[in-house]
C-alpha cells in the first residue's frame, strides 16, 4: 500500500476501528522483540496539548476527534515499519504556562517524538518555546502571526493553520470593496485580536478604507451593549468583530439586537462552525467571515468529501469543524513526514515535511521554505438563515482565495533569509 492510500481505506465503524487498533497494537509488539537493539521502537508518540476546558473547549474536542481519526488511518495502513502512532492528549486549559508544562512533561516523561496542537496564539508560542529548545517538531493548528517570525521560529516549527495576516487579508479583500470603506473594529484585547486588526488595516490600506474607531474589549466579556451606542453613532459601513469563540457569539448577538445590521455589515476574520451552531441562525444572519475549512466545500473539493465521509462514519454522522479539520491535517503532515523520511528523527522529518506537497482535506497545500507556514486556500463564508437542510448547513461559500505566497508576509519582512 502506498503512503497516499491510507487515507482511503478506513471504512469500519469506530468500535471496529478500536478493535482493529487493539489487535494492531498486539501484533505491533511482535517486531518490537526483534528491534530491541534499535532506538526507534514502540509506538510513535505524538503529544497533543489543546484547551479541553475553557472558552474554546468545543473546538478543542473536535480537534481531538479529528486527530484520532488521522492516527487510526495511519495505523490501519500499517504504520511505519510496523510502528503504530499513538496520540497523547493533554489539557492546556488555554493557559500558556499550563501549555508549556504539559509540553515539557510530554517530551521528558512520556517521551513523545512530536507535538501537534494548541488553540490560541499565546499557548502555541509557549509550546513552541519548549519544543524549539528540545529540537522536537511542533505543528501548530491555531492562528498566530508571531510564530512565523524569525525570532520565534526554529527548523522544527511548522504552522498548519492559517495566520491572521492571511485570514484578515482575505476577508478584507472580499468585504471592503463590497460593503464600504468606513470601518469600526470591536477587538478582543489580546494577541489574536491585535494581529487580526493589523491584518485588516494592512489589506484595507490598499483598498482605501478609513478606521473610524478600534474599540478594545477584555477577553471573555459577557456584555457588549455598552460599546454599541458609540458604534451606532459612528454609522460605519462595516463593523469588524476581531474576537473568537464565545466573545464573537455574544458581541454579534448583541449588535444584532441593537439593530446595527440595518446600516452596517458585520464581518469577522474567522467564522466558526461551532459558534454559529451555538449562537443560532438569527444572530449570525448575514455575517461574513473567513475560514480554513467548511465541510460544505465537499460538493466541489473531492478531498473534502472523502475526509467528511470518514469523519461522519467514525463519529455518528457529525461533520468536522474548521479547527477540528486542522487537528486531522496537523497529524497527517507529521506522520507523512515520518513515512517520507523513513525515520522519526526531528531533523530528517523536518526536511521531509518541508518537501511535502499534500492534499489531506481541502485541496493542495505545502509548507513555505523560510517559515514552514502552510500555503493554502482560504474560504469566505456568509451565515445563512434560510433554506438550511440540517443543523450543519449553516454557511454559504461566497468566495475563496487560492493558495498563494503573495498573500503571506514576505520572508524578508519576517526576518528570515529568503
Amino acid at each position: 500500500m502506498s503512503h497516499q492510500d491510507f487515507a482511503n481505506t478506513s471504512s469500519a465503524s469506530r468500535r471496529h476501528l478500536l478493535q482493529l487498533g487493539a489487535a494492531g497494537a498486539a501484533v505491533g509488539t511482535a517486531p518490537f522483540l526483534f528491534n530491541i537493539a534499535s532506538a526507534q521502537t514502540g509506538n510513535i508518540k505524538i503529544g497533543f496539548p489543546v484547551p479541553l476546558t475553557g472558552a474554546f473547549s468545543a473546538e478543542a474536542q473536535d480537534q481531538v476527534r479529528a486527530a484520532e481519526l488521522a492516527v487510526k488511518e495511519f495505523n490501519d495502513a500499517g504504520g511505519f515499519n510496523g510502528r503504530k502512532a499513538e496520540l497523547l492528549v493533554r489539557d492546556d486549559k488555554l493557559n500558556p504556562g499550563e501549555a508549556a508544562t504539559r509540553t515539557l512533561e510530554l517530551i521528558e516523561k512520556d517521551k513523545v517524538e512530536f507535538i501537534v496542537g494548541s488553540l490560541s496564539a499565546a499557548t502555541q508560542l509557549s509550546i513552541n518555546a519548549v519544543t524549539r529548545e528540545r529540537k522536537v517538531i511542533f505543528n501548530s493548528i491555531s492562528q498566530s502571526d508571531a510564530i512565523n517570525e524569525a525570532k520565534d521560529w526554529s527548523p522544527y516549527t511548522f504552522h498548519e493553520a492559517l495566520n491572521p495576516h492571511m485570514t484578515a487579508g482575505a476577508v478584507a479583500r472580499y468585504a471592503f470593496p463590497k460593503y464600504g470603506k468606513r470601518v469600526v473594529y470591536l477587538t478582543a484585547d489580546y494577541a489574536y485580536g491585535h494581529e487580526m486588526v493589523r491584518g485588516f488595516e494592512r489589506a484595507g490600506k490598499a483598498l482605501g478604507t478609513t478606521t473610524l474607531a478600534d474599540i478594545r474589549h477584555p477577553i471573555g466579556a459577557a456584555d457588549y451593549s455598552s460599546f454599541l451606542p458609540r458604534i451606532q453613532a459612528l454609522k460605519p459601513d462595516v463593523l469588524v468583530m476581531c474576537n473568537f469563540g464565545r466573545d464573537q457569539l455574544n458581541s454579534i448577538k448583541q449588535a444584532t439586537d441593537f439593530g446595527l445590521k440595518e446600516k452596517t455589515r458585520i464581518i469577522t476574520p474567522v467564522l466558526l462552525l461551532t459558534a454559529r451552531q451555538a449562537g443560532g441562525a438569527e444572530a449570525f444572519d448575514g455575517v461574513v467571515g473567513g475560514s480554513s475549512y467548511y465541510w460544505g466545500i465537499e460538493d466541489t473539493v473531492p478531498a473534502a468529501k472523502s475526509f467528511n465521509d470518514k469523519f461522519r462514519k467514525a463519529y455518528g454522522g457529525a461533520v468536522p469543524s474548521d479547527y477540528g479539520a486542522l487537528g486531522y491535517a496537523g497529524i497527517r503532515s507529521v506522520l507523512q513526514g515520518v513515512l517520507n523520511a523513513k525515520s522519526t528523527d526531528s531533523q530528517k522529518v523536518s526536511e521531509a515535511m518541508g518537501q511535502l506537497k499534500y492534499n489531506w482535506y481541502k485541496g493542495d497545500q505545502y509548507f513555505r521554505k523560510c517559515d514552514h507556514q502552510s500555503v493554502q486556500s482560504i474560504i469566505i463564508l456568509e451565515s445563512k438563515s434560510k433554506g438550511m437542510k440540517d443543523k450543519n448547513d449553516v454557511f454559504s461559500v461566497v468566495g475563496s482565495e487560492a493558495p498563494s505566497e503573495t498573500n503571506l508576509r514576505s520572508c524578508a519582512e519576517l526576518g528570515h533569509k529568503a
Binding site: 468545543a58 460599546f227 461551532t274 451552531q277
Partner: protein
C-alpha cells in the same frame, strides 16, 4: 473625543440602566438570602446559569416565552429548596464560612451537571419574536428587549416590595431577619421561613437567568463572571439590603456603560474601582448595617 453628543450620552445611559437591571435582580436574590439566613451564596451565579438553561429548554419545549419565564424560575427555586433542606440547613449555627464553602462547591456541581446534560457548547438562545427589533427613543435606536428587561425588573421589584411590606408572610420574614430567636419564641417555624426564603432567592436568580438568556450566550460558565459582578453590587448597596441592591445595581450598570464609552479598556475595572471607593468611604455600603458579616 469629539463625537460625543447628548443623544449618544442618553443612549449610553439607557444602556447602562438596562445592564444594571440584570445586576439588580441578581443582587436582590443574593441580598435576600444573606439578609435572612446570613448565608453568602456562592452558587448564585450557577443558579442564574441553571435558570438560563431551563428557560431556553422550556422555550424550546413549549414554544412560549411567557410560560418559560414562569416555569424556569419555579424549577430553579425548587432546586434551591432542595439544596437548602439537605445541604445548607445542617450547617446553620456553624459560622459564615461553612455555607460559603458549601455553596462554592455546589456551584461547580451545578456547572458540571449542566455540562453533562446540555453539552459544553451551550444552547442557542434567541429573543422572543414579539420583543425583537430596535425602537427609536428619540435620541437613538435601542433594543426593545432591553426596554422589556427594565420594565420586567421594575415589576419584580414592586411585587417583592409589596410581598415583604404588605403581607403577613413578609412581616414574618422581616421580623426573622431582625431577631430570629424572638420570632421562634412567638411560635413561628423559622426554619421553614429560611427554607422558603432560600427558594425565593434562587428562584429570582433563575428568573434573571431566563431574562438575560436572549441577550448573551447561554453556556455552563456564564454564571461565573456574573457572580463576581453581583457581589460587587451587593457590597456597594450594602449586604442584605434590598433597596441597596436595586440602587447599586443600576449605578454599577451606568458606571460600566459610561466608562465603556469614554475609556473602553477600563470598563471591566471601573466597577471594582467603584466598589473600592465605596468601601473606603462607607464600608457597610449605601444601605447596609455596619458589621453585618461579623
Amino acid at each position: 473625543m469629539s463625537e460625543i453628543t447628548p443623544s449618544l450620552l442618553m443612549l449610553q445611559l439607557v444602556t447602562g440602566i438596562a445592564l444594571g437591571t440584570v445586576y439588580a435582580l441578581l443582587a436582590i436574590g443574593l441580598s435576600l438570602i444573606f439578609g435572612m439566613l446570613n448565608v453568602v451564596n456562592f452558587a448564585h451565579g450557577a443558579f442564574f446559569m441553571v435558570g438560563a438553561f431551563l428557560g431556553v429548554y422550556f422555550l424550546g419545549l413549549t414554544g412560549n416565552f411567557w410560560l418559560a419565564l414562569v416555569i424556569a424560575p419555579l424549577v430553579t427555586g425548587g432546586i434551591g429548596l432542595f439544596a437548602e433542606r439537605f445541604l445548607v440547613r445542617p450547617l446553620y449555627g456553624r459560622g459564615i464560612d461553612y455555607p460559603l464553602l458549601l455553596t462554592f462547591g455546589l456551584s461547580y456541581v451545578l456547572i458540571d451537571v449542566v455540562r453533562a446534560t446540555f453539552g459544553i457548547e451551550g444552547l442557542p438562545s434567541s429573543t422572543p419574536a414579539a420583543l425583537r427589533g430596535a425602537v427609536n427613543l428619540g435620541f437613538g435606536h435601542f433594543p426593545l428587549y432591553r426596554l422589556f428587561l427594565i420594565a420586567a425588573t421594575a415589576v419584580v421589584v414592586l411585587a417583592l416590595w409589596l410581598f415583604l411590606e404588605k403581607t403577613r408572610y413578609g412581616l414574618i420574614i422581616r421580623a426573622g431577619s431582625r431577631d430570629a430567636e424572638i420570632v421562634r419564641v412567638l411560635g413561628v417555624d423559622i426554619t421553614r421561613v429560611w427554607w422558603l426564603v432560600f427558594g425565593l432567592g434562587t428562584a429570582i436568580a433563575g428568573l434573571s437567568g431566563v431574562l438575560a438568556a436572549p441577550t448573551r450566550a447561554v453556556n455552563p460558565e456564564m454564571g461565573i463572571p456574573v457572580l463576581a459582578e453581583s457581589f460587587v453590587v451587593t457590597v456597594v448597596g450594602g449586604m442584605g439590603s434590598l433597596p441597596g441592591a436595586v440602587v447599586a445595581g443600576i449605578l454599577v450598570g451606568v458606571v460600566f456603560s459610561m466608562t465603556a464609552l469614554l475609556a473602553p479598556a477600563y470598563a471591566e475595572m471601573s466597577i471594582f474601582v467603584l466598589m473600592a471607593l465605596v468601601l473606603l468611604v462607607r464600608p457597610q455600603g449605601f444601605f447596609g448595617k455596619a458589621g453585618a458579616l461579623g
